[in-house]
């Protein structure tokens, strides 16, 4: 079944704030060379934890990107969101006037919203009492501001703003929401993606569950020990194919479809049948058969539970012919709500630049994860169809399917 041109949605702009690169050129180079964002966490006092590596961004200058909204009114996650949106808009070649006259849909996914601010407020409360909370920080410490801050930055009165708070798959949810908003005619342009900042709350949560790696993240490795918490933002510009062609925009990839399922099973442990159903729904939505998929960008957290469950689910859908399956978290850490957005961006760039980013830190593949994870070194590849997995606490699964843009509709 061919999709008519009118309903095809393509990606025409990318904004990247990550621990392995800010902006496309640096990010591509890091993906190609297998750079690690891991280093000791400095954003909160890690005294008392036995180990505390993370993937923080140490060279982020908000004033470089945020021109209109007073930066003090934005928490770190909102700052990441606005910066990535600014970068994506510039990359797409859209003027502010074009944005203002379009019906924009802004969806930002997040796990923690402004939990960095909530951590600081909690610390103040513990040390000095409730009366001592800072008014500016109290006001900005709320998740609904992430997309609103983007609308304010560009003056987008016509924008629908949505924060998707579905934890670690929220970036994929947002891409799906933007995709549907365009297809049903609610929007002309979607700015969608995800953002999160490293915070004590989430580091402590994963640490308590025994899922923080002492050194680095080794997805699918026999000796994997867990995640490193990371941070950043990824924003993608989505628009109709005909609009992209009319503007002469660069097309990174086409969004073919997506799927959502809920495990309804366990608060934190993933359930393979539901994850498999999500992939099957996404492929059906994209009108793609499993054997047409050239690459899977796995959720791939590098925890014992995730990797085995996810690979089992992948094999349920793909049988014995599983395409190469990588984990970008080996490089980026787990950037929470930004994770599947940054991964979707990496997939788009892998399609455009014709290579597969590696799963780094890999030594011995776990026999329970029998896949080719493209260990340690990127490989050249001509990718047509890429599947991007997102799983989350609460069993909120979201899978997005992207393809190289071909003039002929699939």
């Amino acid at each position: 079944m061919n999709r008519s041109d009118a309903s095809r949605v393509v990606i025409t702009g990318l904004g990247i704030i990550s621990s392995i690169g800010i902006g496309i050129p640096e990010f591509v180079e890091s993906l190609r060379s297998g750079r690690s964002g891991a280093k000791p966490i400095t954003s909160f006092d890690t005294t008392g934890y036995d180990y505390s590596n993370g993937c923080e961004i140490v060279d982020f200058d908000p004033a470089r990107w945020i021109k209109e909204v007073p930066i003090a009114e934005l928490g770190r996650t909102s700052q990441f969101s606005v910066a990535a949106a600014r970068m994506a808009v510039e990359d797409a070649g859209l003027s502010v006037d074009q944005l203002r006259s379009a019906r924009c849909h802004i969806s930002i996914g997040t796990t923690d919203g402004e939990s960095r601010d909530l951590d600081h407020l909690t610390e103040t409360q513990v040390r000095s009492g409730w009366e001592a909370l800072d008014p500016v920080v109290s006001r900005r410490a709320t998740a609904n501001l992430l997309p609103v801050a983007i609308a304010r930055e560009f003056g987008l009165t016509q924008a629908e703003t949505t924060t998707i708070a579905t934890a670690c798959s929220a970036g994929n949810y947002s891409i799906g929401n933007g995709f549907d908003a365009i297809r049903v005619g609610d929007a002309d342009i979607a700015l969608c993606g995800g953002a999160d900042a490293v915070c004590r709350k989430t580091f402590t949560a994963f640490y308590r569950l025994g899922t923080i790696a002492p050194d680095c993240c080794r997805p699918f490795d026999r000796d994997r020990r867990g995640i490193l918490t990371g941070e950043g933002a990824g924003v993608l510009i989505l628009e109709r194919l005909e609009s992209a062609i009319a503007r002469g925009a660069t097309i990174y990839a086409e969004v073919l479809g997506y799927g959502l399922t809920c495990d309804a099973y366990h608060p934190v442990a993933p359930e393979p049948a539901s994850v498999a159903r999500c992939m099957a729904l996404a492929l059906r939505d994209a009108d793609v058969k499993p054997d047409e998929v050239d690459l899977i960008s796995a959720h791939g957290t590098g925890t014992k539970a995730n990797d085995v469950t996810e690979v089992r689910a992948i094999r349920e859908v793909f049988g014995d012919s599983v395409p190469r399956t990588i984990s970008l978290k080996s490089m980026l850490g787990h950037t929470m709500g930004a994770a599947s957005a940054l991964a979707a961006i990496a997939c788009s760039l892998a399609i455009t630049h014709r290579f597969i980013p590696p799963t780094i830190n890999h030594r011995v593949t776990d026999p329970e994860c029998p896949i080719d994870c493209v260990p340690n070194a990127s490989v050249a590849a001509d990718l047509r169809i890429v599947q991007n997995n997102g799983l989350a606490f609460g069993g909120n699964n979201a899978v997005v399917v992207l393809s190289r843009y071909d003039e002929e509709a699939r």
């Binding site: 919203g113 109290s138 410490a141 998707i164 549907d180």
Partner: protein, 370 residues
């Protein structure tokens, strides 16, 4: 690619737990009486800066849901699990129904209380990581929708939408999109806000003491395609969203209402019921004036202004406004007439929902004789 439909979805049932009481019947009664629920806050239970609040009377998670699985459950989740239970009744879904049922839940920022309680343990306990592991999920915003999925067997798309006061309308719009794109066969959609010590203090400081009284509650709607066999209470004709970026809420609210009316091809003067969100301060005043201008004072006067009765219910406010409109419609011959619900968040989000009222018979879930 999945089949797309363009028919407007319908609301076929609803439930609410609110300061008026534990179910939809209590809510509808409170609305029709125009009962004010503002009451003194007991400082022994709530060490907060507020003297007054509008709380769900006597709500306790364990009492409402039993002891199993509720030891660490926060108030927002307890309220929502209970409200979804009221709406679904004793239905035990088949696998197909379960996988085809979506849940879209609106919030402001999840439970600030759970998040801060969790981090507080890290600061005060003997080791920073010796925190209660059962609290981990409650520190994440999606916990309420996810717990409802586990409790009630909802395996379809499960989405938490944190858009602040308009979140109930966001959830209805999102549910409509899931139905239009064939991603779900039916959807539960609504919004929740809990009262808590943390929310109260953040509100107090964030608004520098001028934030007004806080309320809480939850409302959940069953949203189905128009082809559903169930009798519709209302058709969701249109939802519109805008963002106020310059403080001029009046202009943006007018834009949103006019766009919703234009989508349905209706004149504003014909709107029968109109409900403003009653946001505090200038944003709320401008919203109300814009709504009166585009529809009419008469339309506004037919629906008791919710914020005056249950104060600022945050994300739940917009969902409870929709429930208020349905409550009024249930008591009057309103079939075929239209209703406009607006919501503004002083942070900038603006939303409008346009409903056509269809039938007044079934009444809200949780009713004993409805």
């Amino acid at each position: 690619m999945t089949a797309m439909t363009t028919t407007a979805p319908v609301i076929t049932g609803w439930s609410a737990i609110s300061p008026f009481g534990p179910d939809g019947r209590a809510f509808a009664g409170g609305i029709r009486e125009g009962r004010r629920t503002r009451a003194r806050v007991d400082p022994a239970d709530w060490p907060v800066p507020d003297e007054h609040a509008c709380l769900v009377p006597g709500f306790d998670v364990t009492e409402a849901l039993g002891a199993k699985g509720t030891r660490t459950m926060n108030r927002a989740t307890g309220l929502t699990v209970a409200a979804v239970g009221q709406l679904l009744g004793h239905e035990k879904p088949t696998a197909r129904v379960s996988e085809g049922t979506a849940f879209a839940l609106g919030t402001t920022t999840g439970s600030a209380q759970s998040m801060m309680d969790f981090t507080r343990q890290s600061f005060v306990n003997e080791r920073p990581y010796l925190v209660e592991p059962a609290l981990v999920p409650y520190g994440v915003m999606n916990v309420t929708a996810a717990r409802c999925a586990i409790w009630h067997g909802l395996k379809g798309p499960n989405t938490t939408i944190a858009t602040g006061r308009p979140a109930g309308i966001s959830a209805l719009r999102y549910a409509g999109r899931l139905l239009a794109t064939g991603r779900a066969e039916r959807a539960l959609a609504g919004a929740v806000e809990e009262y808590s010590v943390s929310r109260s203090w953040l509100h107090h400081h964030g608004k520098e003491g001028n934030g007004g009284t806080l309320g809480e509650g939850v409302a959940i709607f069953m949203v189905e395609p128009a082809t559903s066999a169930a009798r519709p209470l209302a058709t969701l004709l249109a939802t519109e969203f805008r963002t106020c970026v310059d403080g001029d809420f009046g202009t943006v609210v007018r834009m949103a209402i006019r766009a919703a009316l234009a989508r349905a091809g209706l004149p504003g003067a014909d709107v029968y019921l109109a409900s403003p969100s009653g946001a505090s301060g200038a944003a709320g005043q401008a919203e109300r004036a814009a709504l009166a201008e585009v529809t009419s004072e008469a339309a506004i006067s037919r629906v008791p202004e919710l914020a005056e009765l249950i104060a600022d219910a945050g994300a739940a406010s917009s969902a409870l406004q929709v429930a208020a409109v349905l409550s009024v419609a249930e008591a009057t011959p309103a079939a075929g007439k239209t209703a406009v619900i607006t919501s503004v968040d002083p942070d900038g989000a603006v939303a409008c929902a346009l409903l056509r009222l269809e039938d007044s018979d079934p009444g809200p879930a949780g009713s004993l004789d409805g």
